[in-house]
Symmetry: D4
Subunit: 250 residues, 8 copies
């Protein structure tokens, strides 16, 4: 750890205490007043910083993306509107945008995808969230297998895809309405299922709360839950698990 290194230099007198203190801080984030960019994150967590675009002021968004690009960081922006993409595209023409998942990407390096994450979703309307999960996992170099529209009202669609599903290191299960797909999968597989309730539905679904409660209360094992529509979060966790599975020497 660098901190120990620093203390050593303090001890042997090659580093002044005040300088040491300042040095530590600079290596960890850059302060723009309205934002403190966390350059230390990758070291701490093994993941690049990601930008949640929804609701960001134009000015802030442009500057944050610009700073990452200027430092040769890769860029992943989630929940970006078409308007926001256009705004950024003018300045950084290499940015790409996927309308379904609302993801902005920059400088996707050609490191090979590895491992195996299966992203399932219950209905066609859940695909935007499923894609946010899948593309996030791919951004972080996970290989992804998509198994879409296998909701429990036609449960044979689950069974005829079970072999593919069972090859995963981690399963992401995206479902709206009553979200029962998680429980069914939970009874059929041996790896963790990250469940993502979606806001798809109407009436007493309360914007996804019904699906969230279904998943949280599941009688099946191996199911943990992230926020409603939080495809990004599921893609992140699935990657953490996928890395553990493929990377023995940690």
């Amino acid at each position: 750890m660098e901190l120990e290194n620093l203390l050593e230099r303090v001890k042997n007198g090659t580093l002044d205490i005040k300088e040491a203190s300042s040095e530590i801080e600079k290596s960890m984030y850059e302060d723009f007043g309205y934002a403190k960019l966390d350059y230390n994150r990758k070291k701490r967590s093994g993941f690049d910083e990601v930008i949640f675009c929804m609701g960001k002021e134009d000015k802030y968004l442009v500057e944050i993306v610009g700073n990452l690009i200027a430092r040769n960081h890769r860029v992943l922006g989630t929940r970006a509107s078409q308007y926001q993409f256009n705004l950024l595209k003018d300045r950084y023409p290499l940015l790409k945008y996927d309308k379904i998942s609302k993801i902005i990407k920059y400088d996707e390096l050609d490191s090979p995808l590895s491992g195996n994450i299966v992203v399932c979703c219950a209905g066609t309307s859940d695909i935007p969230v499923a894609e946010e999960a899948a593309q996030t996992a791919e951004f972080f170099n996970s290989k992804v297998d998509r198994v879409y529209d296998i909701g429990v009202s036609g449960i044979h669609r689950v069974f005829s895809n079970l072999d593919r599903i069972n090859r995963a290191n981690c399963i992401i299960c995206v479902a709206g309405m009553e979200g029962a797909l998680s429980s069914v999968l939970g009874g059929l597989v041996s790896v963790p299922i990250i469940s993502v309730p979606t806001s798809i539905g109407y009436g007493a679904n309360f914007g996804g709360l019904a699906a969230l409660l279904t998943m949280i209360n599941s009688c099946a094992n191996g199911i943990s839950v992230v926020n409603i529509d939080n495809g990004y979060g599921a893609g992140y966790i699935a990657t953490q698990i996928n890395r553990l599975a493929i990377d023995k020497e940690r």
Copy 2:
């Protein structure tokens, strides 16, 4: 209809108007002050009156049961405690009590059971509610087939019982926790499913609300829902449907 008959007699002068008015009321219920027993119900709905015992004052419960027995009505009491049964047993020794379903019965006539209602439940803990449903349906002369402990976390248990389930005129699906069984059944059968959420579970199940929301939001067709733990209501509705199916000449 009797009312027309009455009007006829008013018209041809064989019945005084005031008397007619009083006559109508008497034929419909008896007034005890604290309760108005609805003797007309069977004619209106085809079902005997049933007593919801939970929380009834001792004095009221004893009198109501006594009045039904005195008039040779059959008796079905739901949500009865052991204490309430003992209280009634002293006065009416022919009453029977089932501890699991908490049902009190009296004078069960030997009319044959007919039709076919399947009562499913997801887990062993859901059996008390399932039995309330099953025994209610039987009290109303429906034949009942019980398929218990087929929750979706071991979904092969559903499939190996599917033939039995598919022979029903109506299915009652009792499930707590996340209540996903309804959705799975909904995709596999062609008859109506009356879903009963139960309060079984803990934490974010909110006393059965989670299961209720799952069932109300089901992506599968043919599912309607009654109140949490309301086995009685489901047994009643299933009987209505069962009668329609077996009784052509209505």
Copy 3:
């Protein structure tokens, strides 16, 4: 059952195991990646597949409708916007649209309507949901009788229509605000009532939750509930019951 047939052919060697497996899957659904069309549904449930249009991506909606038409399936689309209808109309000019119920239909065959479902609603504002229920039931060949605007604040309107209501095999009760109509009907009829809470109202109706709770907690018997504004679901269930009543030989 076809599966047994298949096993027979496997046994007598006329079918290869791998082929058998593939055969089963093909007969059950077609996989478009973003959707898996469930051609087996009609056999399983007796009902054609129906499209929930709300929120579907343009591209997906057009392809799904197109595939059904190409295979000579009848089409029922619910919750379709005027925009979606126009989109489809351009390609499939025989489609029809009802603005009140927001239903799209195609190729309505002239099979006769039969049985009797009564659709009641409490107020004029509940008619869109009532019509979704009524037209769904008609699409599935049920005869429907509409009794609208009979809310309990003018309860004589219920009584003067009671004879029509009592002729039903199944009643659909559509009501918003406090949804009390279900309980009143429940005390007056002998057949099942499928209750549909609507989101009509304001303030503490919480988008239909108040009406849903009223119906779920009804002191009257024979009432089961579907999701807020779910006219389609009610029409489906009522048809299941209506078919049981008219079709002795199942």
Copy 4:
């Protein structure tokens, strides 16, 4: 108003300013540290102070009741347990207790009851709350007519009592479960209905919330609502209205 009187005396010098200030306060309440008994209430509101017994410390309850008796005030205590009554009975043997309504009374003066308040309730289990309302109104000298067990599942019981109900100056409607009785009455009468939801029911009644929402969202006119199980509050308001109706010269 006394305050003007006081200012007059200050002006003509017959009252010292400091004394005036102290005088005003004393006439309004007595301070016991843990409680400030509001002797001015009757003058302000026309009603004696009433004690909400539930959860009061023994010591406080005994002292408060004792002080009212010592000053020859009449006493009405609501939500009193048998234990609390026994505690008080030892010291003040003239106190009376009604087990159903859980009301404690003392020194009920023989002023004649007048006017007409009708207290309705939907089921036998709602009687405790109905009696709290009725006896509160009687304590405040209102004449009360009780019409119990007229829930909407047997709606003929409402109609055959409609004449009695229509003679009221004000109606109190007490109902649990789904609380639909209020809406039915609201469509049939011309005087205000004070609706009291009760906690009677189970499952998705949420301790009376379902009935409260039904009543607050009623499509009928003339309905206002008090807290769940608040019979006392309804008896109080009904008396206010009853007094307005019988007392022309205010």
Copy 5:
């Protein structure tokens, strides 16, 4: 009562039974299919029918208003948008519209206003609801005194208007945010307070729920509550009470 009259005619043979039945129904409402206009309401309740305009289909709204005008009924429409008013204005030029309260009126007869209702509101933003209440009461011939912007954060504004408030037969209290004004008034007056929570506020006011709960749980007496923003309902009830107070001979 007319019904007795009818029975007399049936008895003495001057009226055929079938005709009698039909006669009764016609006198009570007119059936337009989508709506059943309740002409009997005024006789039953003493109030004209009122139209809740929000969300009514154009066609229905125009016809309903037209039918009332054609029968020389007075018209009160609440929650009408500017668009709806324009739509109606074209056909019925005598209609008037108040933008603040969103009320449409027609043919306001010059019967004198009588009695005294005080309408209070807590803040300037609550005025639209207060005006809906006030103008409803005036439409039903109640005299109204408006006391606006007296919220408890500047409580001297309550006290300096207390004399006016205390002259009321009934008080309407309109308040959003935390709705504390009701409790303060409740401790200061002797007549009933109809409380109207408003949706004014933000954050944890949950669209008026916070104010509703405050009012329902008030420690003060004499407070009953109507739905959030339901000025109309409060104006109606206040008029019922006002009439009782001014009209001895009922």
Copy 6:
């Protein structure tokens, strides 16, 4: 107190009783019918009146601002839209507007800022609420130190700013999503933390309710909470505390 002064003048006959009464009222507020401007507030609370602009009718807003300016009061308007600012700007060209905080100000006097309030926020998206808090405090003459974007997911940003934070008399902590920043700060400082949950987030944040509950349930000490997005309220309270800290002679 002026009231004593007034009573003196009443006593010695230099003031008529009726005049005295009128005098008192005038000194306290001015009545515009739709609003009662509270000129006494500054004396009572030490703070100028502030205008909550959101949802105010144009006419009312213009008049209220105009009256304050006419009386040489300073003006602070919160939650003002660009439209509202333009409306006011035309009449009162000296008004200033901050787009981020949506604050309108007028005639900011050059009294020096004093004390020390630290305003923290968790993310860039919380800045609008943080600025409402900061600028409110500055309007009331508090010195403010802004420490933004120090959310707990990069907790080193908290620690490297801890010295600045610990110099505060009062800390305002603004956070959305799960609002955990308050608890972390609460364990590290010795002065009160006014916590402001924001509506930033999505899904199960329920418009800020999740953050509010986090803060209300904090295991750390010294944390009290204001309404969701209520930056103004936090700035006000922080100023009250700051004044206590800097002003010994109260």
Copy 7:
């Protein structure tokens, strides 16, 4: 700060790096496995650690109290049952217990109380929470003035105690039911009000949620809120503010 001191010693070689690390940790807390006692808290926050007794295992509670006593720390235990007190009393006979507030205290030093905190409560039933607040503040050496039973239903009780209330550096306002007292006080004073909703009430108070929402949404200024029944938290914050007011040299 000690940390700098430590780094100095590391630099000049008088402290080994590993030892330094261990030293820092020991000075901050002691680890018992099941608990980590935070001896550094007083230095960080200026307050002793306080024990929340409710639900603590017997064994843990006894050991934690014992360790504090062994180190000559003062002890404050909140939410302690009579059973827990008896358990501790056997071992540590100097402990004292207050039944109303459920507070356990040990070794209360005779440092003088200073400053001025006013604790108000609305009703007699709120006193337990008010006492928890008052005694917590006194434990931390604040002078407390108790003003109890001044709920808004008898608002003159507020006014006649206003002078006492206005002398406070900070006000704690404890109220259940609808909790309106906070808003009334907020309009009358110039210092911060820490509001404590209590669970006192019934029905739609939802265990204190109604009062919490009232306080959070208050239209008055200067009000911040702590958890339901959290008297301890309010006493802590009020002490923080009281110290700022009396202690100029921080």
Copy 8:
């Protein structure tokens, strides 16, 4: 897969079709009527079946445990009361019981524990849930490191244990009240965190809902959530992840 094997035998005629069907079912579960024991689970999921004891009928519990023991299965029972343990102990004396975690175990094989799961909890009161998690993981052969009482109000306790925490393959974070510990850990580690909200707390924690919402809405990455108090579920998932990390050849 065995199914293929079976089909082979069907094909080559060594197995009759009816027998094959029956064979499949028997190998999958045993049907006791009230329960269907899932002997296939271990093969499907890699985990033994676990018994959720809470609320199980005595008779059912005894039989289920007995059957597992009779088949030489290991037994893990969660949420067992002392009463249930005594009941079982009489029959199966080798069973062991842990009072803190309420876990019953039988025949714990001496297979070595491997991998590394860190179980953290925020406070001493969270230990029962933390132990349920830890002992579940150990039952499934995971090595567990316990880091307890590191709640964020004394955040240095997190930092001084960070090295241990960072050595985990998976972290379980157990926290009640506001549950902020998850977010803090989430910003500091690189492996998945399974968050368990507990019901510890009071007032507006709503039985653990507040903590659940905090965790679901966390601004930190890598956090997924299970049901309130669901230590078992977390131990299960953590073991799934731990196995992936240590077991390369899957």
